[in-house]
């Protein structure tokens, strides 16, 4: 029994070692970079912590982290199955666009209107990602290539439809889809000085569903099995092709939610100023959070914090790009640190099992305590 527990403890320590190591390394490297630009890194960190902990910053960070988190979940579904869905970016944009179009055309009570829009977004996202899944299973096209292409196609499609007289209207310099009716505004959590989007609740729910679905259901086991070994999955009775399509569809459906906090909570339309690039941020956060629902939540908050405090650094005479550098360095460090820690963990375990068995053999008593 004691040994089983020890393995768990080691696992836990190793689990935390990787992100801690990565962030520490990232801090050291960025400090060196700031030093090289002739500024004081410690003052920069002080400014960031000071500014980031202000209450309006906190609200801002949570609001920013919500779509990041959803995006990371979408990417993580693919990762767990060894699929690299780079297309979350295109998926959420095209999903949000069509949800906005449908939402703008309807005037239903909120209790129906909002679910309808969310559903539309999820279906559109799922279909867009499903194309990549189909291409992979029928034609053997790598999902990395097809999803990145679909990003470009999606952007062009939105560009074409988002024009005055087509599906959009003009308002000053901006072109956007018609405003959603008031009934379609999502609830807010009243905080001071600004409210937190209510969609954070949906995001938390999505995280819980993600965890439960993957770790506690048969389907999740099949999906993880494919991710670990396609050949073993096939031999165990998983239809690998169908699983590829299913997981792409699920990933796309999750991606469909990414634009919703913005659409239902801030902009109330899809316009040329709708945020882009969240899909790529999601990749970084999924890596940072190790596909774990809590890890990714922390990662999303960290990203929000860096985004927020980066703007403040500019006022203090630092280059604003320094935050981009920190983020990039963190991702690199994370990937390296995880691989190093993973290998070390495997090796350590193998050695321990060997030692344990040798000790057993020596005492020559077949009694296995564990």
């Amino acid at each position: 029994m004691s040994l089983t527990k020890k393995f768990d403890k080691d696992k836990l320590i190793l689990g935390f070692a990787a992100p801690a190591l990565a962030i520490l390394a990232a801090l050291v490297i960025t400090s060196l970079i700031i030093l090289a630009t002739g500024s004081d890194p410690f003052h920069a960190y002080e400014v960031m912590v000071d500014f980031g902990s202000k209450s309006d910053s906190q609200v801002w960070i949570v609001n920013k982290a919500t779509p990041y988190y959803l995006s990371a979940l979408a990417v993580a579904i693919g990762f767990r199955m060894n699929l690299f869905n780079i297309g979350v970016d295109g998926q959420y944009r095209i999903a949000a666009f069509f949800a906005a179009v449908v939402g703008g055309a309807l005037t239903l009570p909120g209790i129906i209107q909002i679910p309808v829009m969310i559903l539309v977004a999820m279906i559109v996202g799922a279909m867009w990602a499903g194309i990549a899944g189909l291409l992979k299973t029928t034609r053997g096209v790598s999902e990395v290539i097809s999803t990145i292409m679909l990003n470009a196609i999606g952007a062009s499609l939105i560009g074409y439809l988002l024009q005055d007289g087509r599906l959009a209207e003009k308002e000053g310099n901006l072109i956007h889809t018609p405003y959603l009716p008031d009934s379609a505004h999502f609830f807010e959590i009243p905080t001071v000085p600004k409210p937190i989007y209510g969609f954070v609740v949906i995001a938390a729910l999505a995280g819980a569903v993600y965890w439960f679905g993957l770790n506690r259901t048969r389907f999740g086991f099949d999906l993880r099995t494919v991710g670990r070994s396609e050949s073993a999955a096939q031999a165990s009775g998983v239809n690998v092709k169908r699983m590829v399509i299913t997981s792409m569809v699920l990933s796309g459906a999750m991606a469909g939610l990414v634009g919703m906090p913005t659409l239902l909570g801030v902009s109330y339309n899809y316009g040329t100023d709708f945020p882009t690039g969240i899909g790529f941020t999601g990749i970084a956060i999924a890596l940072l959070g190790r596909n774990h629902p809590i890890g990714m939540a922390l990662g999303a908050l960290l990203w929000g914090f860096l985004d927020r405090t980066g703007t403040q650094l500019e006022f203090e005479g630092y280059a604003q790009e320094i935050v981009g550098v920190i983020q990039g360095v963190i991702v690199l460090c994370v990937v390296i640190a995880y691989e190093v820690v993973r290998r070390y963990g495997l090796k350590m375990q193998q050695r321990k099992v060997g030692e344990e068995l040798a000790a057993q053999a020596k005492s020559d008593k077949a009694e296995v305590s564990a």
Partner: protein, 517 residues
């Protein structure tokens, strides 16, 4: 930790066999001798001079060469190119090298042709290329890691002739094996390793396979014999006219399985003999539903499963011990209890409804570990950290835990030590007693003959011969495996040797002809 108190002394110009169970520490010892691993203490003396080997390059420089169990050859290069690769400085890459290869090949009777592509060579020829590679680099001591694992009996004999040739020229061969018959027939000295330490050095003339096995495991030699028949009249698996086509890399469609028809009854073990790559793997995958046959009907216990997906077949009672456990039987980076779920996720105790029952799966894994003697400190360790034999015991335990009607066992005891082997044989026999039908595929002909009630021989995707395991010998079976004999094989009391020799010859020519076509 893997090795301690190892004392091994090898005389020059001899074949020295090193035998021991899997995980006994043979490979570790060889890695130390070949400079791949450093010993914590102790010395290595070569020709009276104490040496320390830091890398394989060191070992090669001192005339120690190693032929690995898995060949390290580039398929699309010629034999000559493979041999000179990495040793270009010795004799260049041109005619001088070719002449040297010829010279070595003739001197030791290896029969290597330098300008043939390696991909066109059979397993035995590839092995000779590996040996030549080592000799080309000037090795005087050769280490061969389980060289016979991939060979049929006739090829094993040819290899042993080569080894005797090497010995006659004053070279030293260290030969690792756990096949006792082979060890006794070729070795001049035998050292037995058990649990990481040398337990005995014996001369083959003074020992028997039984005694050797006892030294290896400290217990009696298990035998795969099952003599009282439990075969019933009720068919369990029926395969009718199965045909499977595959497209090879050149885009040519070939039939990898053709006209396969057989029946396995309840309580029957059907043994399938054949040189690897003659369609056995494809047949298993077709029965498991991992490949779709172009013709034919598969019936399990009266139900037509020809179109059923793999999961339905598993739920329907097919247990599967795959040939390649790392690729098809395990999730190496997952803990043991998740590996216990693998393949049976829809069955009890692993899940209820659509939900996993992790707790019950864990409890049941503990039971398997206990009942099947899987040596592990716990069920939370990854499958990768277990030794091969223990991984296999876990797989056998898992598959047997779902009361299979049909067990497909592909090389169930490959890479498994003698103790575990006996246990797995027992399990198969016991289940067969209770009406299990078994399709057994094995390269170990003793195992095949000992366990089976019926024997079939597979050659180039067809079932070409059948035999009665009660009378047939491995040699006779071997000649059918090379395509030299077909139909019902009768045991011949006299002149058996002569027949086998011709079979081996015709095999060589046939293989060349077949590959170049």
């Amino acid at each position: 930790m893997a090795n301690h108190d190892i004392h091994l002394s090898v005389r020059r110009g001899t074949v020295h066999a090193l035998c021991g169970e899997n995980g006994a520490g043979k490979s570790t010892l060889m890695k130390i001798l070949y400079g791949m691993q450093k010993p914590d203490e102790g010395t290595i003396t070569l020709d009276g001079e104490q040496v320390s080997l830091h890398s394989p390059a060191d070992a090669i420089a001192r005339g120690i060469g190693m032929v690995h169990q898995h060949f390290m050859l580039a398929d699309y290069l010629t034999v000559l190119e493979n041999v000179v690769l990495g040793a270009e400085k010795l004799h260049g890459i041109g005619d001088k090298a070719r002449a040297k290869i010829k010279e070595i090949s003739d001197a030791y009777g290896l029969g290597v042709r330098p300008d043939v592509l390696v991909e066109d060579l059979g397993v035995a020829d590839r092995q000779r290329v590996e040996i030549l590679k080592v000799l080309y680099r000037g090795a005087r001591t050769l280490i061969l890691d389980e060289p016979t694992a991939v060979l049929v009996p006739q090829e094993v004999d040819a290899l042993f002739d080569n080894l005797r040739e090497l010995k006659a020229e004053g070279l030293t061969v260290i030969f690792i094996s756990h096949k006792l018959g082979e060890v006794l027939s070729v070795a001049d000295d035998i050292t037995v390793i058990r649990r990481g330490t040398t337990v005995a050095s014996v001369a083959p003339s003074e020992t028997t396979p039984k005694q050797l096995a006892e030294l290896m495991v400290g217990s009696e030699l298990p035998s795969p014999e099952t003599r009282e028949s439990t075969v019933t009249d009720t068919p369990m698996l029926n395969v009718e006219g199965l045909r499977l086509s595959a497209t090879d890399p050149d885009g040519v469609v070939r039939a990898v399985l053709d006209g396969i028809t057989f029946t396995i009854h309840k309580g029957e073990v059907l043994g399938l003999a054949g040189v690897e790559g003659n369609g056995q793997a494809e047949l298993v995958e077709a029965i498991m539903g991992m490949r779709t046959p172009s013709e034919g009907v598969v019936t399990l216990d009266g139900a037509d499963i020809t179109q059923a997906p793999t999961r339905k077949r598993r739920e329907g009672g097919i247990g599967y011990i795959p040939e390649d456990r790392h690729r098809h039987g395990l999730l190496l980076e997952a803990p043991l209890w998740e590996n216990r779920i693998l393949g049976h996720v829809t069955e009890k105790p692993n899940s209820k409804g659509g939900l996993l029952d992790n707790k019950a799966a864990r409890v049941d894994t503990e039971r398997i570990v206990r009942e099947y003697d899987v040596r592990t400190p716990g069920i939370e360790v990854t499958a990768a950290s277990l030794s091969g034999g223990n991984q296999q015991k876990l797989i056998v335990g898992r598959e047997m835990s779902h009361q299979p009607k049909l067990l497909i066992a592909a090389h169930p005891t490959r890479g498994v030590d003698v103790g575990a082997q006996a246990q797995i044989w027992d399990q198969i026999r016991e289940a067969r007693h209770e009406g299990l039908a078994v399709l057994l595929i094995s390269a170990d002909l003793d195992e095949l003959i000992g366990l089976s009630d019926t024997l079939r021989v597979m050659f180039r995707g067809r079932l070409v011969a059948d035999a009665d395991p009660a009378t047939i010998t491995p040699e006779e079976l071997g000649s059918a495996m090379t395509g030299a004999a077909t139909g019902h094989l009768e045991h011949v009391e006299d002149g058996g040797d002569a027949a086998t020799d011709t079979a081996a010859d015709s095999n060589d020519t046939e293989r060349e002809g077949g590959d170049s076509a």
